[in-house]
Structures are given as structure tokens and as C-alpha cells.
Amino acid sequence: MSYKLQKKVVIFSFLLVPVGLMLFFLLYPTAQLFRYSFTNWDGFSPSLKYIGFDNYTKLLFDFPDAWRAIRNNGLYFVIHTLFIPIELIAAVLLNRAMRGSGFFRFTVLMPYIINGIAVAYMFSYIYNPINGPLNESLRALGLGSWITGWLSDLGVVNYALIAVSIWRFGGVHVILMLAGLQSIPKDLYEAAEIDGASFWQQLRHITLPGIRTTMEIVLFMNVTGALLQYDIPYVMTGGGPGTASSTFGLFSLQTAFTYNNYGLASSMAVSLLILIIVFSSLQNWIIKDRSEA
């Protein structure tokens, strides 16, 4: 077989399956999602009716539960973002060669790798209202008045869940930032030292620009993680009490499969998709390298 013919065969046969799968399982459902979002479909009837932007209007103006859910996502995002400076400090510390740094690196990443569902149940046990370890420790510390139903108190439940999310995902941010720090050539610092640059000048002109790519990834993970968060509330509270700790992703799932409102759920999923793309582009624009401009 000539290379010319071979080339055609190989391109076609190698791409057929992966491109087919992508079109069929990713792009086609996405298109369908947009279509469903303009209908009143219930998920099983043979017929569906196009109702224009009604689902989106309802979502925007007449759906307080969905707004509460997205506010919870916002809370995940804000608190996770507040932790980023602490994670950066951890990464800077971890970047030093110290006795035990291998063990600490191992410890930092472990919560991200071990099974997330088991972790969620583990914290259900920690938060247990009767004899739960958290309440027991508070009592031992003389903080008995702080004891509360961590997963049943409306004002507390979201923070209790977000703490679990920080526990699970804080470490992977640290490791990614560490990778960024390690990619900065050491001689840059040595040269700066010789030129008499202060610690802050080094931070401003070497470290921060050096970890920009990594920070983009961390921030992207932060946004998508916060917006797509569903499994911690799903496992630990089922979104309750009521819908107090639901997130947008979890709520859209329930709207589709529990309340059989496929059209509305699709419009929620489309909104989520758009939100993720908008927010992550916005963040990248904010920390974009403008030095050449």
C-alpha cells in the first residue's frame, strides 16, 4: 500500500471512533440540552412543546430555590477563594527542602485522592449530633455553647459542608502551586539576590509571574469546582434541610429526575454551562499577562 493511500486509511480509521464518541456523547447531548431547555418536556412523554424562553424566565424571576442554590455555589466559591492565599503559603513552605517534607507532601494531597464519597460519610460521622467527635471536642475545650446540629441548622449547614470541600480540595491546589513554584529556575532568585532585590520584590517580579499558568489552572478548578459541586451536599444532607444546602448542579438534577421537569432542568444546566465559561474567561482575563501590552 502506498503511503498516500495508507495515510488516508490510517487517518480515517484512527479518528473514526474518538471523533464519533465525542460527537455522539458530548456535542450531540449538548445540542439536545439547548433544545430541551426551550420545551416543557417531562422526560418521558412522547411529545414535547416548544415554549420559547419560558423556562429561562421562570428561572430568572420565579424560582427562589434555584437562586438559593446558586447562592450556595457562590459561598463555596468565595470561601475557597479566601483559602487560596493560605494554600499559596503552604506551597511556598512545602517548596523548601526540610526534614519530613516528603511526608507532608503526601499528607497534603491525600484528601484529594482517597474516595470522596467515603470522605463525605466520614464527616457525617464527625458532625453527628449525638456523641459526634466534633461536639465532643467542643465540650472538652469548654466551648459547649457552640454545639449545634451541624447538618440541620439552617445557618450552619452550608459552612459545615464547605469545610468538607476545603478539606478535600485544598491540598490539590497546594500541590499544583508547588509545581508552579518548582518550575521557576533557581538562578533567577540567585541573580535577584545579587542585585539586592528584597523578598517582596522577588515575590512580585519572579514568583508571581512564574506561577501564573499554574494559578490559572487553580482558579479554573476553583470556579468549576464551586459551580459543579454536588456530591458533598448530595451525600451529607441531600440538599436539606428543605433545599437550604442544595447546590445548582444538585438542584438541576433533582428538577430533572425527581420532579420530572426536564425542560426547566435543561435550562438550568445551560445556565450553569454558560456561567462556567463566562466566569473562567473572566478570571483568566483578570490575571492575564499584560506586560507586553
Binding site: 519530613g100 482517597i114 474516595n115 464519597i117 465532643e136 508552579g180 454551562l273
Partner: protein, 284 residues
């Protein structure tokens, strides 16, 4: 003179102190919850109610809770199904990912731009958001309540994988391909004997990260495989907890059983996991 040397020493000492206090606190926060669950898993329910959760279990050989969790929690079936999903997705991803990267990186052809654009578009879509529509598709294909549904999703929608393979292949010189062509090797042969083996290190890291992702996923598994026969480790734990909400010690044992395989993988493959995450973080 003495002061001048003492100051940096003091600072170094302070630096170490900050370092160790910081990470000691962190290690406590990470390990204590796990330890508490481990304690709970060896206690009887009466013991759990009477003693402090921080107290050492009276009988460390009390495996009753593990027996309960293992038998009634369907854990063996969960482990088997999880293992099948992980292994099959790893294999599928490795084959399809390297094939796609080979074509995209080594060949120029009509429609290449269009196909690359499609991949870029697909990469922007977070897979979970489209699940509602994909559910109908899987249902329509009669793949609901089979292992094939999740498998197709894990293999077919992971565009990131293709992207990373392409990045790796870019760094592998084409000279080997060219000299093999001078010897008359076919493109299939070049792929099989040169490209695929050279991508094996990338495959190892991607496979381990993929297996962690699959073991942590419930969305796809609970949506498409609600049948008890198709329980995976996390979904088995979920139904076990649902069945016996008040049996806390058995819950603790179930948690430990589900944590164990992932912890084992972490301990065995730490190097690969760190390498995979850290390489990905700086290439972008």
C-alpha cells in the same frame, strides 16, 4: 560579630518552627478524622455511645462491623464493578487517546482544523452539565443499567486526555517515524511499535489519574447504574448507609472499606500521581 551571625540563625530557627507548626496542624486535621472513623469501626454500638469518640477501641480484633459492612454492604460486588470500570476505561482511553494524538500531531489533512476546533469546543463543556440530555441518549440506546453506559461516557468524553497526549507527542522527535518509513514500515506499524510505546509513560500517569477520577465519581454511576448488581464501591456505600442509618459503627467500617482501595492506590502510585498532577500544572 556575634550578633551578625546570631540574627540569621534565629531567623532560620523561626522559619523551621513556622514550618513544622503549620504542617503539624495540617497533618492533625487530615489524619484525625480518618483515625476517628477507624476507632469507631472497631467499637460496638454500645461502646460507641458510652465512650469518647477519641478513645481507643476496647477490642481491636472486633471485626464484626467489617463483616456486616462487607456482607450487607455488597462491597465485594462494588469492588469488582469499580475495578472493571477502571480497567476498561484505562484501556479504552489509552488506545483511543494515543491514536487521536498520533493523527492530530503527525498528519496534515483536510478537515483537520475543523476536527481540532470540535475538540476545543468539546473541552470547554463540563461533562456533568450535559448529563440530563445524555441520560436520554443512554436510555434510548438501551444501555441504561449496564456497565457500558458509564464506560462509554468515561472513555468518550474525556477530551483532556487527548489534549495531554498531544502535548507529550509534540516533544517526541519525528526522526524515529521517518527512519522507520525509510525501512518501509507502515503507519500502523509505526504507531504500534514506536508511538504507542514512547507514550507509555504518559499513559501510566493518565491512567492513574483517570482511575482516581472514576473511583471518586458517583454522578454517572448512580444515574446510569441504579441496579444493585451494578453497585460500585461508592454507590454500594450509599445504599448500605441508606439501609441502616442508625448503625454508626457499621457505617464506620463501610467507610474504611471504601477508603482502603483508594488509599492503597495512593500509597503505591504516589510518584505517578504527583508527577501527573504537577506536569499538568505547568504545561497548562
Amino acid at each position: 560579630m556575634e550578633l551578625a551571625t546570631a540574627a540569621p540563625n534565629n531567623r532560620r530557627w523561626l522559619g523551621s518552627a513556622v514550618y513544622y507548626v503549620f504542617f503539624a496542624v495540617m497533618a492533625v486535621l487530615v489524619f484525625v478524622p480518618i483515625l476517628l472513623v477507624l476507632f469507631g469501626s472497631f467499637k460496638t454500638n454500645a461502646e460507641l455511645a458510652d465512650t469518647s469518640p477519641f478513645s481507643w477501641p476496647a477490642n481491636l480484633l472486633n471485626f464484626d462491623n467489617y463483616v456486616t459492612a462487607y456482607k450487607e454492604g455488597n462491597m465485594l460486588r462494588g469492588l469488582t464493578n469499580t475495578a472493571i470500570l477502571v480497567a476498561a476505561s484505562m484501556a479504552g482511553n489509552a488506545v483511543l487517546g494515543t491514536m487521536t494524538a498520533y493523527i492530530v500531531n503527525r498528519f496534515d489533512f483536510r478537515l483537520k482544523k475543523a476536527i481540532l476546533a470540535l475538540f476545543m469546543l468539546a473541552m470547554m463543556i463540563p461533562s456533568y452539565t450535559t448529563e440530563i440530555a445524555r441520560f436520554q441518549l443512554i436510555h434510548g440506546m438501551n444501555l441504561y443499567n449496564t456497565l457500558y453506559g458509564p464506560l462509554l461516557i468515561y472513555v468518550g468524553t474525556d477530551i483532556m486526555q487527548i489534549y495531554i497526549y498531544t502535548q507529550f507527542l509534540r516533544k517526541i522527535s519525528e526522526q524515529l517515524d521517518e527512519s522507520a518509513m525509510l525501512d518501509g514500515a507502515s503507519y500502523f506499524r509505526i504507531f504500534r511499535s514506536i508511538v504507542f510505546p514512547l507514550l507509555l509513560p504518559a499513559t501510566a500517569t493518565l491512567a492513574i489519574l483517570k482511575s482516581v477520577a472514576i473511583m471518586n465519581d458517583i454522578y454517572v454511576q448512580m444515574l446510569y447504574m441504579p441496579s444493585k448488581k451494578l453497585a460500585t464501591l461508592p454507590t454500594a456505600l450509599m445504599s448500605f448507609v441508606g439501609d441502616r442509618t442508625s448503625d454508626l459503627t457499621a457505617l464506620c467500617a463501610g467507610i474504611v472499606l471504601v477508603l482502603l482501595p483508594s488509599a492503597l492506590i495512593y500509597i503505591l502510585f504516589q510518584r505517578l500521581i504527583f508527577k501527573g498532577l504537577m506536569d499538568g500544572a505547568i504545561k497548562g
